[in-house]
Amino acid sequence: VSGPVLSNRIRELRQLQPGLTQEELARRCQVTRQTIIALEAGRYLPSLELAFRLARALAAGVEEVFQWADDSDR
């Protein structure tokens, strides 16, 4: 499979919440800020646990945060 299998809306959902910086999201999810940067840029696929932590921090469901990058991958 070339390219990322999953895409995400982390940046978009984060920016919907005023004051939720990358640093703050990283703190809430107990990861480094660089991991949030890598996630938002689509360069890193998180574990299931981190995916759920992100969804909770962004006040969204996991399926709202992560989607298949291409429907043909389903």
Partner: protein
């Protein structure tokens, strides 16, 4: 880039140059200077300067990167420190042991001196890694991404270790003793240390490479 970022970037560059100068002086003291200079142990001073070079480089890199996309994690800094230290110790051992002859007596003063300086460099690197960790205390220092990178790098290193060990075993087993350049126990011990150093070097290089890949 605003004025404060420019100042920070300039400060970072100065620290990087200071680190490079300390590194060069350390290399001279460790590799080329006599063991004692004006009654001072050049090996230990060289190791201390190497520690200073590492600190300056790490500080300079942090200060010169105004763009958050290029921020590096503690894990990547530690991988760089480990890579540079392993390369420095490896180069130092190679240079000094080649100068002394590979079959140098295990109890000789020269070999003890080489071992002391190597240990001093490793202790210096451990202190530097500890200082960096304390400097960044408060934030999450490592997470699953760091652990995944370390795990994949360890797997790469295991492959290198196995390949080199098999190569050494085959060489020792198939080459007639009179044609073997390293048949004495001490020479074989040196070869095994070389294998360990190379596999460690491969591990840290793989860590640094994977961190950089994920930042691009």
């Amino acid at each position: 880039m605003d004025a404060s970022a420019t100042t920070s970037s300039q400060r970072g560059t100065i620290w990087l140059w200071a680190g490079a100068a300390s590194g060069l002086l350390a290399a001279y003291l460790l590799l080329f200077a006599p063991n004692q200079l004006l009654g001072i142990d050049t090996g230990l001073v060289g190791s201390a300067l190497l520690l200073l070079a590492g600190w300056s480089a790490a500080y300079g890199l942090s200060a010169s990167r105004a763009n958050p996309e290029s921020l590096i994690t503690l894990g990547e800094k530690q991988a760089w420190i480990a890579l540079i230290t392993t390369a420095a110790v490896g180069a130092y051992l190679l240079y000094k042991l080649a100068g002394l002859g590979w079959t140098v007596d295990l109890h000789s003063r020269a070999l003890r001196k080489i071992a002391t300086n190597s240990v001093a460099m490793l202790v210096g690197a451990a202190i530097l890694a500890r200082l960096l960790r304390q400097r960044e205390a408060g934030a999450t220092l490592e997470d699953e991404r760091d652990r995944a990178i370390r795990q994949r790098a360890a797997s790469d290193s295991h492959g290198v270790l196995l390949t080199l060990l098999i190569g050494l075993v085959v060489t020792l087993g198939l080459t007639p003793v009179d044609r073997l350049p390293f048949s004495s126990p001490i020479a074989i011990a040196h070869a095994l240390i070389g294998v360990l150093l190379l596999s460690e070097l491969a591990r840290h290089a793989a860590e640094v490479w994977r961190y950089r890949q994920e930042r691009q």
